[in-house]
């Protein structure tokens, strides 16, 4: 069974947020009307990244099971395309973003579940980001419905 260190989880989360931020910055270029809301998602991803990193750094302890807490978690399950193809239309780009959000939500919830043996702030931070991503997904679905 594969094991993943928390350091790897945090790096993965941060990379996920950086890529997501770039995705929304690009997506914002496709809709003048919805630019503000899409840019707010880009900004939120950077905040998520800082939030998760800060929480990890403030609670990591050499005495806890930081290297052994994510048994069986396979990060390959959460790898998703976050770059938008050239000449992609706005609706297709929204669908890509919704797909990214689904993966992100699943990743954060699973990582949160598996990090219960760490200090409570870590699973809580991961859950908070999953909730933010869930709200974002709902908003994206609403934006997509407006394109029909």
């Amino acid at each position: 069974m594969s094991s993943v260190t928390i350091s790897t989880i945090i790096s993965f989360a941060t990379k996920f947020e950086e890529d997501s931020s770039r995705l929304y910055s690009k997506l914002a270029e496709l809709s003048v009307e919805k630019k503000d809301v899409l840019m707010s998602f880009a900004k939120e991803s950077i905040e998520n990244s800082l939030f998760v990193t800060r929480t990890y750094r403030e609670t990591v302890s050499d005495a806890l099971e930081t290297s052994f807490s994510f048994e069986g978690l396979d990060l390959n399950d959460y790898i998703v395309e976050t770059t938008l193809k050239n000449n992609i239309d706005y609706a297709e780009a929204l669908r890509t973003a919704i797909n990214v959000e689904e993966k992100a939500i699943n990743f954060y919830l699973e990582a949160s579940k598996r990090s219960k043996s760490l200090l409570s702030t870590i699973p809580r931070a991961l859950t908070v980001v999953a909730e933010r991503r869930s709200r974002r997904k709902l908003k994206l679905e609403s934006l997509l419905s407006q394109t029909d």
Binding site: T5, I10, S61, S69
Partner: protein, 532 residues
């Protein structure tokens, strides 16, 4: 000063791609990401005396990264004169520093804490670089170090005395705590950043001055910390670093002007430190070796217990005084058949988990265990493994067949090793190994295992894994160890609690960290007052 050779802090974004040195495709197609090393050049470290970086006149020895076997720095073996010079500086500034208001002293610690947060990742990478531990472990160590700066920053409250009016007609009595002078800190190699911080921040916050002599095997962390101390604005002479080995450590022990010593290391040396401090009237905290038992009771949650055991036995490559050493599988209340089945279940799960631990360079984020700190330590552990075999124990998992994630020299590496059929009279059941070796002991009864622990001459830590409150309470009540874990594999006290220890694991009275450290570094003066 070597700071300039470090990566400029503003560039540090530990998750950023800029820090990925290389991506190596492993056989299984997994990616190994090695974070960038924190130093680029081999530097000769200096002493930090009286707020200045001073070149030592002593000869130098190499500091070696145990994962890559590359020389990463040169550390001087300073001379007695250099200790004397640090001591003179500390004595000179002491009267002024002790008169500095506690809140002003605390503000130096606030600034230091901010600098440590700012340089968090760099400090962590240095620990992995010079010690070999995994980056997660180093970050954990950095956090624990910072916590030991945060706690004594509350010195205005922690240092308060107490009073009582009218102990007799018109007479009041009160107690004040006063600093003593200069303290020496002689830390171990296994936590190069954190261990001196169990003491130094408490000492200086209460108005004392310190001389830290880092372990010559891992001197870079304390050197970098001293740069931050300097930046935080401590007056020159309050916090000094003198690099070196045994000779200057002995000089510190003998010197009448050093008021106390904080030592972390082996019991053999700790006993000598305690004796010498007694001869010269010094206060002493000597935290020493250990042989920690972890009990698995039949009602333990096995999955969580095994995860906790992996960190306990193999975290920091087994090189910590709180590491699990003996895994006692206790069959209290079970008949022979049920005990055999329970024993097999625990051992199989333990060995399976241990055999899956990824061993490699600690700057590879996926690695769960790094190398031993140097090749001599590996040789010592190999010798003890052989001794275990000679005395009749059986290897359930042989870590001598080194398997690494990545192409690193094997010189300091061992994989997790598990012995079965260990008895407490065997060397490996009795003495500290300080490496990634677990000894599994059969114990049919709860009382039997408590007696084994009691008969062992160490008393640093012990843990029990159980769902029974009764067993847990009996355990914590009766076991003769200073740090107790209940369903916790590493019973590491937080900065606001003392780091305890008993029997041959501790020599002294008051412990490091928390309120006890404040008491250690202060004299209680009682005043009885009447006004005519």
């Amino acid at each position: 000063m070597y700071t300039k050779y470090l990566i400029a802090q503003t560039e540090i974004d530990w998750v950023g791609k800029a820090f990925i040195l290389n991506m190596i495709e492993e056989e299984k197609g997994k990616r190994m990401v090695v974070l960038e090393e924190p130093m680029k050049e081999v530097l000769t470290l200096k002493n930090y005396i009286n707020g200045e970086w001073v070149e030592s006149r002593g000869s130098t020895i190499n500091v070696v990264n145990p994962a890559t076997c590359k020389v990463i720095a040169k550390v001087p073996l300073s001379t007695k004169d250099e200790i004397d010079s640090a001591l003179e500086a500390a004595k000179r500034v002491f009267p002024e520093w002790r008169r500095t208001p506690p809140l002003a002293r605390a503000r130096c610690l606030f600034r230091l804490k901010e600098l440590m947060e700012e340089h968090f990742e760099e400090l962590s990478r240095i620990q992995t670089f010079e010690h070999g531990k995994t980056i997660d472990e180093s970050r954990g160590e950095t956090r624990r170090g910072i916590e030991n700066v945060e706690v004594p920053a509350g010195v205005p409250s922690l240092m308060m005395g107490y009073n009582l009016e009218d102990i007799s007609a018109g007479i009041d009595e009160y107690l004040v705590r006063q600093p003593l002078g200069v303290f020496g800190i002689i830390p171990s190699f296994n936590f190069p950043f954190m261990v001196p911080l169990w003491y130094a921040p408490y000492a200086v916050s209460t108005g004392n001055c310190v001389i830290v002599k880092p372990s010559p095997h891992v001197p870079i962390s304390q050197t970098r910390l001293a740069e931050l101390v300097n930046e935080a604005g401590f007056p020159p002479g309050v916090w000094n670093i003198v690099q070196g080995g045994e000779e200057i450590a002995t000089h510190m022990l003998d010197h009448p002007d050093i008021k106390g010593i904080c030592f972390v290391g082996s019991t053999a040396v700790g006993k000598n430190v305690y004796k010498k401090c007694g001869e010269t009237g010094k206060r002493v905290i000597a935290q020493c070796s250990a042989k920690n038992f972890l009990l698995v009771m039949p009602d333990a949650d096995l999955g969580k217990t095994i995860a906790a055991c992996m960190t306990s036995f193999f975290g920091n490559t087994g090189q910590r005084c709180l590491s699990g050493a003996n895994l006692a599988i206790v069959g209290d209340g079970l008949n022979d058949r049920d005990y055999d089945s329970f024993y097999k279940k625990v051992v199989d799960a333990f060995i399976d988990a241990a055999s899956n631990i990824r061993v490699g360079y600690g700057l590879d984020e996926s690695v769960q265990m790094g190398p031993l700190q140097n090749s001599d330590r590996k040789e010592r552990v190999l010798g003890l493994i052989q001794k275990g075999l000679d005395e009749g124990a059986r290897l359930g998992l042989d870590g001598r067949n080194v398997k690494l994630c990545g192409d690193w020299p094997e010189k300091c590496f061992l994989n997790p090793t598990v012995f079965e059929e260990v008895t407490p009279d065997m060397t490996i059941g009795r003495e500290e190994i300080f490496g990634p070796v677990a000894s599994i002991i059969k114990a049919r009864g709860f009382d039997e295992i408590l007696e084994m622990i009691s008969n062992n001459h160490y008393g640093n830590a012990a843990s029990i894994f159980t769902s029974s409150g009764k067993w847990a309470r009996e355990f914590q009540y009766r076991v003769e160890c200073g740090n107790i874990g209940i369903n916790v594999g590493i019973a590491a006290p937080m900065a606001f609690f003392p780091f305890s220890g008993m029997k041959d694991s501790f020599f002294g009275t008051l412990h490091g960290q928390g309120v006890e450290a404040v008491r250690f570094f202060t004299e209680s003066k009682v005043i009885i007052q009447r006004w005519f």
